[in-house]
Amino acid sequence: MESILLQFGSAEAPSGGIMESLGVDWQTLILQIIAFLILVFLLGKYVFPTLTKILDDRQTKIDSANKAAEHAKKAADEAETRVSELLKKARHEAADIISLAKLESDSNISASEEKAKKQAEQIVKSAQADISRQIDDAKKALYNETLELVSLATGKIIGESMTDKLDKDFIEKSIKEIK
């Protein structure tokens, strides 16, 4: 190890300076720098803007997709909430309708019973009135027939017992009445 260090330490410095000692050729270096700068210029002028644009576009698309997804999620959440509210409202209305229908049904049954009862009472009343009327009619018919018979019998008795003398007297009396 010591021998190696000594060897370098004892070596003579080249005459072109440190760069030459390092093996750098100025001309080549300048050309490489120029070529590098040209490359940087070309890349900056044509390649990077395109790449940057592509990346920006992609970012924009990703952002809008994210926004759309967020919007859709929000809309879905709102729809779910609305559906939930509607279901709740529908259940409530259905319960009301069932309750009302039950009430109406009870009311209808009650009304029907009442109506049937009234009709039955009416029929009984009407039948009683009819019977009563028929009895009255029969009584009247009997009375009238009796009257007719009495009248006929009276006429027959008078006719049989009437003499010419009585008839004459009756007529003369009638004439006097007319006068």
Binding site: Y143, E148, S151, G155, G159, D164, D167
Partner: protein
């Protein structure tokens, strides 16, 4: 074709004929001929009634007198006198008939009046007044 005469005109014609002492048989034949020709035979009853009314207006009353038994002359005279005494009747043409259904009493029909003094009528009134 003959003109259609009113019943009143026909009755007036017949009545004037009777009252003027014309031949009743001729007037009757004329009336019959007219009614047959004008196809008004079914109006005969009405025309006779109109004649009776027209006669009545002139003081000549046609009376249909019904009774259950035949009336004596005195009773018939009494009825005719009774008719004459009312409504300034000059003459009564009485037609008598027997109707047993009257039972007793008399029924007198003149053109504008009907006097029913029969027992059957009295019974009928009694029956009607008592009927329900």
């Amino acid at each position: 074709m003959s003109t259609k005469l009113s019943r009143r005109k026909i009755a007036d014609y017949i009545v004037s004929n009777i009252l003027d002492g014309g031949d009743l048989g001729v007037a009757t034949k004329q009336l019959a001929g007219y009614l047959i020709e004008s196809r008004r035979v079914n109006e005969l009853d009405h025309i006779v009634r109109d004649i009776e009314f027209a006669l009545s207006a002139q003081g000549h009353v046609v009376a249909n007198i019904s009774s259950a038994r035949s009336l004596s002359k005195a009773t018939a005279m009494a009825i005719e006198d009774m008719l004459k005494s009312s409504n300034s009747v000059k003459r009564v043409y009485a037609k008598y008939e027997i109707d047993k259904s009257l039972i007793a009493g008399v029924k007198i029909e003149i053109p504008d009046k009907r006097i029913d003094k029969s027992v059957s009528r009295q019974l009928s009134i009694l029956r009607t007044s008592q009927t329900n």
